[in-house]
Structures are given as C-alpha cells and as structure tokens.
Subunit: 241 residues, 2 copies
C-alpha cells in the first residue's frame, strides 16, 4: 500500500519538520497537512534533508480533502480510555497489528495524526476505518507528535512493496454504503437513541473488515433486496386480502 | 532487564528533552547524559511531563562511567555500512532482535546513543556488546536522535499491554449469527443461486472484522428489527385498508 501521512492542524512547525524527516527516513514521501501552523525556517531546519518532502506537502482545509482516494484510513490516539471508542469497545490496534492488516492490500493508506494538544476529534476518529494506538506507559502516555509518527512508520517501513492484488473500496464507496446503511436503519425504525452508536459500530466493523469494492456492491445488494421486500411485503397481503 | 538510556555528548538541548519525554512514554526512567550541552528552559519545555526524569538524569564525564554496572551494552548507529563494525564483523541487530536477545535476562542494559552529527565514535562502539541499527531508507538513513531513541524504546517496551481486555465473539456466537443471516437472506428472497456465495462473502467480511460479543448482539438486533418490520409492514396497510 501507499502510505499517506496526514497531520491534522499541527500547531508547532518544528514538529512538522520532524515528521517530514522521519517520513523520509522510513522511505515514505507522501505528507499532507490539514490547516497547519505557518511553516517557516524552523520547520525546514528540523526537516533537514527532508526539505523536499516538506516543500511538496499539499496543504488542505479539511480531513475530507486529505483522505480523498484512500482505501483505508487509520487514526492515531494515545488515550484509548478516554475516547468515544471505549463505548464502542472498538479494538485499538498497536502499530504492528496495523501492518499485518494492510499486508497484501493495495491502494492508499491514510494515517491521521491529530493536534499536539487535543489529538484527533471524535468526528475525525469516526471517519477512520481503524484506530491505532502506540502502547505507552500509563504514567505518561502522551507522546510527542513526531515520535508517534516515527513509531508507526517504523512498523510500516516494509509495506511499500507491491503485493497489491486486492482492490479495496475507497472512501467514497464506503461513504455511499454507510449512507445506505443509515437509510436502512431509518426504514426499519431502529431506535433513535441507539442509531448513532450503532452506525459507529457498523463503521468500525466494516472498517476493520477492509471491504473490497465487490463486497461493498454485494452489501448494497442485500440492503436493497431487504428494502424491496419491506415495500413489497406491505402490498402482497393486501392483494391477497 | 533494567534499561538505561545514555546520550553521549548530545549537542541540542531540545533533543535531550525529547529523549526524556519518550523515555517516560515507554515506561523507562533511567537517563544518563555524557558531557551534554547546557540544559536549560528549552529542554524542560520539550521534556514536558518528563521534567522529573530530566531533572534526575546523572551527568557524567565518560561513557565508562555511564555504563558502570551494566550487564549488557548496546550501541546504536544509523549507518552500518560505513562504520568500523563492518570490519569488526559485528552483527547489526535491528531493534526487535535486541529485544529477543535480552528476554529472560536480568541486570542493566545500557543503550548508547551518539552525537547528532557524528554518532558514536569507533572506540565507543567497540565497548558495546552489540550494535543496534534502526532500519531506515538508504535515501535518508540518518534519524533525529530522539526518533532513534523512540523506536528502540518502543521495541523494548513492556509488551502485554492493555489490549487484551476485549472479549471477542467465540465460534458458537458467530455460528448463531451466520444462521440468523442465512434466515434473513431467505426472508428477503435473496436470489437462490447467489445465496451460498454471498453467505461465504459475509462470513469472510465478519470474520476479518474480529467481532466482539457485543457487536454480534447488535448485528442480531438489526436483523431482528428488519424482520419485524417486514412482518409488521405486511400487516399495517391491511389494517388501514
């Protein structure tokens, strides 16, 4: 897979430079910046020989733009215990598990790293197929941004290879599927207060499953069939009666 | 083993602070500094909540003093190809091999990290029991000092973290779920000739997702709700009519 490192609203330009450097150290070259702080001399000083990579990094306005065309989106967090995901009992993958999950896949893996102070927001984490957590000490779990990137990319260093035979569904394919699922929950009158939690759970399940395009089509097919049955089921007995 | 992180003549105080932070992040607390640059505000700012560790770090004059009482000494280098060790026929271990080597051992493991510009000198590397090399890209192999420390300590962190609390659904739970799914496909009159293939695909998707017990219950719930809707949907219009 092709790895895209995405920094979401980084506030410290030295961190941005340090991330550029370590990205190049591990043989990656794809860095995106979402609403970063101003990038000046300090960032380039820290980036050192990775100035080219920093220079080429697209600056975008939103996470949506940054993850465009991705096959998989992984968010990082340092505090599994305090996130929305605890309620969802979402498994947090350590970085070496992420590596196993993407081996043999092709497409773009977007890796989201959050703000230095707040990390990724819940709505950003919800856009992720899985969440990666570097195992740290409970005594001081919060890593420096570039250290977190270093550890994750260290684990992923060998994945650049061309294993790719399976075409994973991309972000847009999955967005359409989730819209369909949401409509379906409405149609079956799934309990309102549980709907959001369940949507998130389904996103997580299907995210972890790393759906192919073909599988996404089949899932649409099952939902459509059930929908027609619900409509049709409403008519048939009347015709009989 | 007890890990002692030793920085040899670090020239940049922010790097020293960053190393203190990541040392604490991975649950270690033993930092030695050999002839460091002056440590001031900047170092403590970067160390953040690891100021205590930085404060307590012994400052010594020589590598000999720093490695005193060690059971094993490992040096780090980013450029195996150009170092004296090639001639010494010293094997270079990647960080995860180092971990294997120390498992089941006791005593102090001293980890030497060299200067930002020159790394460890040949005479220092010769004092090491082994040399550790973080595998990096030939395009830009030289890591920032604190990143190298981050990766090595990440590998040496105590495994057996908090990831094992999630109760995955067992074989029987999943068998019941698949039975329910099959019934559902029957109910929605999913095309006969596609049913087996689709069942297999769903098994694969849900298998890959490593479902938890809770998630299995939610999926049952969604199916049941849709089933009731299909039945209910058949009655309501008749009642109206």
């Amino acid at each position: 897979m092709e790895v895209r490192v995405i920094l979401v609203e980084p506030k410290n330009e030295e961190n941005i430079g340090a991330v550029a450097r370590v990205t190049k150290n591990f043989g990656f070259s794809n860095l995106y910046l979402v609403n970063p702080t101003a990038i000046g001399k300090k960032a380039f000083l820290v980036a050192s020989h990775a100035y080219d990579l920093l220079n080429a990094a697209p600056i975008v306005d939103s996470v949506d733009e940054a993850i465009e065309n991705s096959a998989l989106v992984a968010g990082t967090t340092s505090q599994p215990g305090v996130s929305v995901n605890r309620h969802m009992r979402m498994p947090f993958f350590p970085p070496h598990e992420l590596k196993k999950k993407i081996e043999g896949k092709s497409g773009i893996l977007s890796l989201l790293f959050g703000r230095e102070d707040q990390g990724l927001l819940n709505e950003e984490l919800m856009q992720c197929d899985f969440v990666v957590c570097v195992p740290t000490s409970p005594g001081y779990p919060v890593m420096n941004l570039s250290h977190a990137v270093a550890v994750v990319l260290y684990e992923l260093r060998d994945v650049g290879g061309d294993f790719g035979e399976i075409t994973l569904a991309n972000v847009a394919d999955k967005a359409r599927l989730f819209t369909h699922v949401r409509t379906f929950l409405d149609e079956i009158e799934y309990r309102e207060h549980k709907r959001e939690k369940t949507m998130l759970m389904l996103r997580r399940i299907l995210g972890r499953a790393e759906l192919t395009q073909r599988e996404v089509r089949t899932l649409h097919g099952i939902l459509s069939k059930a929908e027609r049955k619900m409509e049709g089921g409403a008519e048939e007995p009347c015709e009989d009666g």
